[in-house]
Symmetry: C2
Subunit: 222 residues, 2 copies
Amino acid sequence: MRIALLGGTGDVGAGLALRWGHDTNHELLVGSRDPERAREASERYAAAVADRDREATVKGFDNAMVTDRADVAVLCVPAYHVADTVASVASGLDGDTVVVTPAAGTRRDDEGVHSHPPSAGSVAALVRGAVPDEAPVVGAFHTLAASRLADLDAALGVDTLVFGDDDDAKATVARLAEEIDGLRALDAGGLASAPEVEATTPLLVNVAANDDDVSDPGIRFS
Amino acid sequence: MRIALLGGTGDVGAGLALRWGHDTNHELLVGSRDPERAREASERYAAAVADRDREATVKGFDNAMVTDRADVAVLCVPAYHVADTVASVASGLDGDTVVVTPAAGTRRDDEGVHSHPPSAGSVAALVRGAVPDEAPVVGAFHTLAASRLADLDAALGVDTLVFGDDDDAKATVARLAEEIDGLRALDAGGLASAPEVEATTPLLVNVAANDDDVSDPGIRFS
């Protein structure tokens, strides 16, 4: 499968590229507004996987080009860049590309980090409104600390919550998630579950900030 | 310590009464609008603990009376009854009583259960606005499935998120939570964290409804 990581030079993109590169044989397409940065990042990810005697297929291009080629396109950009990133690639999306949204709108204040969704109500709803109707939208990967994901020495043993209105697309993303060692995919329902799932991101940041015995925490439902 | 469970005849009250009754020596005061129902419930809880060769101190009275006597008062009523329950007991609250709010505003629709906070923004904010300024308000116990809490055969092994603006009160509630076997208290920040923590309740309901391999799930941060 061809997985595009839009904005894949950032934390979340690095984590997913390294894990999928290490644990699977999928073809990874790192996207960026700047194709040169994408190419550099893809070489870095491939080298990190090769250091562990595995081989990853990773290439870097601009966001539009990786989207064009992808079966699954993950929007690895911060929430405040989701709208312009989607606008820059929407013409390359159709019913054959699953769009995955892992971002959450947050705002930091004196008391920590809190939910600050876009006016659409959630990042997932914003994405749903911005991509062609036939392109399925799935939410996933909100509950993973990017730094831990990017550390191939760190065991996961955590869950990711997958939600969306297209069952086939949701199953595809759940399968891709579970191909990462130590990651379990749980079904959190339809796109209407986006606000609750996206709220787990600030929750995890606050728990990590306040509690000495958890760092880069993930969530396990049991 | 004297712990009042307002609306303690319901699911959450039963769970907390049974766990504290079984695992600690605190004096438990079950409250209800109907003192007779409270007395019956308290006898039921004491008998269930006695069946396991432990002894619980549990009594039942009306909500106002248990609040008057309590060091800690837990609002075990559904979100839509929090306002009237608090109004009925507010005159008995002062700086010596920690008010604990475990409820979350939710609404069920065709797609599951979703956050539906009161107009104050969260149940905790509603409580904060309704009790005297000097009474500390702490949020806790949102991530626990009531049915699992009430089943003394069920191991917990889960976390509860504690939040509030009064550090002493928060520490008291965290200590009480951790006196329950298998429960770890994590600090989720100040009262401003209420929306994210209260959103975990519908999230857990949806995950339980959609996933065969989790029933009555709790959350563990790791």
